[in-house]
């Protein structure tokens, strides 16, 4: 099939796959952060939210598989492009190496990407599979009884009095380990740096960027990345400072 060959086999096609999967991942990380920030509200919120996600069953699995496919495609395309780019450079490199206008974030995409990957694997091991810190895993978590109902868009999805996992305690326990909290902060910092180039670059790849609004895009992306980083910093930061307990 020409379509598959062009998308997976050409440099532009692979870059397009990176941009599209990048958009999916960006939407996911925003949703993930907004959901997690409920930890600062009444325990009913974050615990009800996580119970609701767990109760989705097959839909949750479908979403997980879809996200994993996106991550895999993103990394595959990025790695293949990086190998090809290195080969394209040729054997002899310049004696004087100079950057003219490439942004700092754009020069470290591969590094920030792979550290984020390492973090994703650890994160899944910790909170989804439960091998990294068994004490914080579902099976060993204390339970919590919902004081009120949890609603999504006004629809009641978890009833008051339901016995749910105490995810709030899990987060606090997990970040009680300073090393885990610091690794988390470093990783989201690098992800923010990844997005400082990525969220701008994807518009170029999709063909929607031009000089008329490149500057505006830059501002929006920078503000987004700063907000994303601060939002993510808040949770382990609060746990470390003992604000969250």
């Amino acid at each position: 099939m020409d379509l598959v060959r062009n998308l997976f086999g050409s440099t532009i096609g692979r870059k397009l796959l990176m941009a599209v999967t990048g958009v999916v991942l960006i939407v996911f990380v925003i949703g993930h952060l907004v959901g997690n920030l409920q930890v600062f509200e009444d325990p009913d919120r974050i615990n009800g939210y996580s119970h609701f996600l767990q109760s989705l069953g097959p839909a949750l699995w479908a979403a997980r598989i879809f996200l994993l496919v996106c991550v895999a495609l993103h990394i595959w395309a990025g790695t293949v492009l990086a190998i090809e780019a290195r080969r394209a450079r040729g054997a002899e490199s310049y004696a004087v190496k100079k950057w003219i206008q490439a942004t700092v974030a754009s020069r470290y995409m591969r590094w920030t990407g792979y550290v984020v990957l390492a973090f994703i694997l650890y994160h899944l091991a910790q909170f989804t599979v439960g091998v990294a810190q068994p004490g914080t895993f579902k099976a060993n978590l204390p339970h919590y009884t919902m004081k009120g109902a949890y609603r999504v868009l006004g629809v009641e999805v978890v009833r008051a009095g339901t016995d749910v996992l105490d995810v709030r305690s899990m987060v606090i326990l997990g970040f009680g380990n300073r090393l885990v909290a610091v690794f988390y902060i470093v990783a989201v910092g690098l992800l923010s740096l990844h997005l400082l180039h990525g969220a701008d670059s994807l518009f170029q790849t999709l063909g929607w960027r031009n000089h008329r609004w490149a500057r505006g895009l830059r501002v929006v992306v920078t503000v987004f990345c700063a907000a994303y980083f601060l939002g993510n910093l808040a949770i382990p930061g609060a746990a470390l400072l003992g604000v969250l307990h």
Partner: protein, 265 residues
């Protein structure tokens, strides 16, 4: 008219006797440099001295020496075409340097642009890309009526911006991935913007991109080193346009109805 004050520099040049051979840097003093000399003229004078001493002159590519042919191709102090913005090596003047400077001169580096000798590289890969789709089908014979195909002014201007590309390859030389995207983008856009370029619009972009990939140029990481090094200041907006054109062509070609059998194409 006063005679400009001359000065001395040291040039550190890549010397390589032939394709695939080991190369190395050699330093040469260039004395009595006139600031109004072009960089290439400075090399000419140096070469005269080398020849007078019975040494092999430094090989470098050049032709028009006025920034329109795209033949000159030096990387000067780490930047293709030297320190100035929007000029080719041949339009770089010695007044851009100071007395005592040590100037490093290297050939364009990319696997698709092998060094032939010293600072001369084989850039025929660009011709191969151009031959894959950088043309239009036109009726030959008498010239067509000039106003038969109306082109809005802003479209014509944009097409002319793209058409400024002189095919020098500085974009590839500046790119950390040795990507030819800026060159291909300007060729694809220049024809794709105009009515005359429409019949082959999709086949052109598909063929030029696949030829570009096949020749071993890298992909684009949207860092825009190319447009910063381009002597014609071709905008990387054309790369966004190329991405868009390519994507549309990929989907159109996959879903376009085929004519029923029997057609001879």
């Amino acid at each position: 008219m006063t005679t400009p004050k001359t000065f001395n520099v040291t040039v550190r040049v890549w010397r390589q006797v032939g394709p695939g051979r080991e190369g190395r840097f050699v330093e040469y003093p260039a004395r009595g440099v006139n600031p109004d000399m072009s960089f290439l003229e400075m090399l000419d004078v140096l070469n005269d001295e080398l020849a007078a001493r019975g040494e092999e002159p430094i090989a470098f590519s050049h032709d028009c020496r006025e920034g329109i042919c795209g033949t000159c191709s030096l990387v000067i102090n780490g930047k293709p075409h030297g320190p100035n913005h929007g000029v080719a090596s041949c339009q770089t003047y010695m007044r851009s340097f100071r007395d005592g400077d040590r100037i490093v001169v290297e050939p364009f580096r990319a696997r698709a642009f092998p060094v032939i000798k010293d600072l001369v590289t084989d850039r025929s890969a660009f011709d191969t890309i151009q031959q894959a789709g950088g043309f239009i089908t036109a009726r030959t014979g008498s010239a067509p009526e000039a106003n038969a195909a109306p082109v809005p002014k802003h479209v014509a201007d944009l097409a002319m911006d793209a058409a400024q590309c002189i095919g020098c390859g500085a974009c590839v030389a500046a790119c950390k991935n040795s990507s030819a995207m800026l060159f291909v983008a300007s060729k694809v856009s220049h024809l794709g913007l105009l009515p005359q370029g429409q019949p082959e619009r999709d086949s052109r972009v598909l063929a030029m991109v696949s030829t570009m990939d096949g020749l071993g140029f890298g992909g684009c990481t949207n860092q825009y080193e190319c447009s910063a090094a381009c002597p014609k200041l071709i905008s990387h907006d054309f790369i966004a346009r190329l991405n868009r054109d390519y994507t549309k062509a990929v989907f159109r070609s996959a879903f376009k109805p085929e004519p029923a059998g029997g057609g001879e194409t």
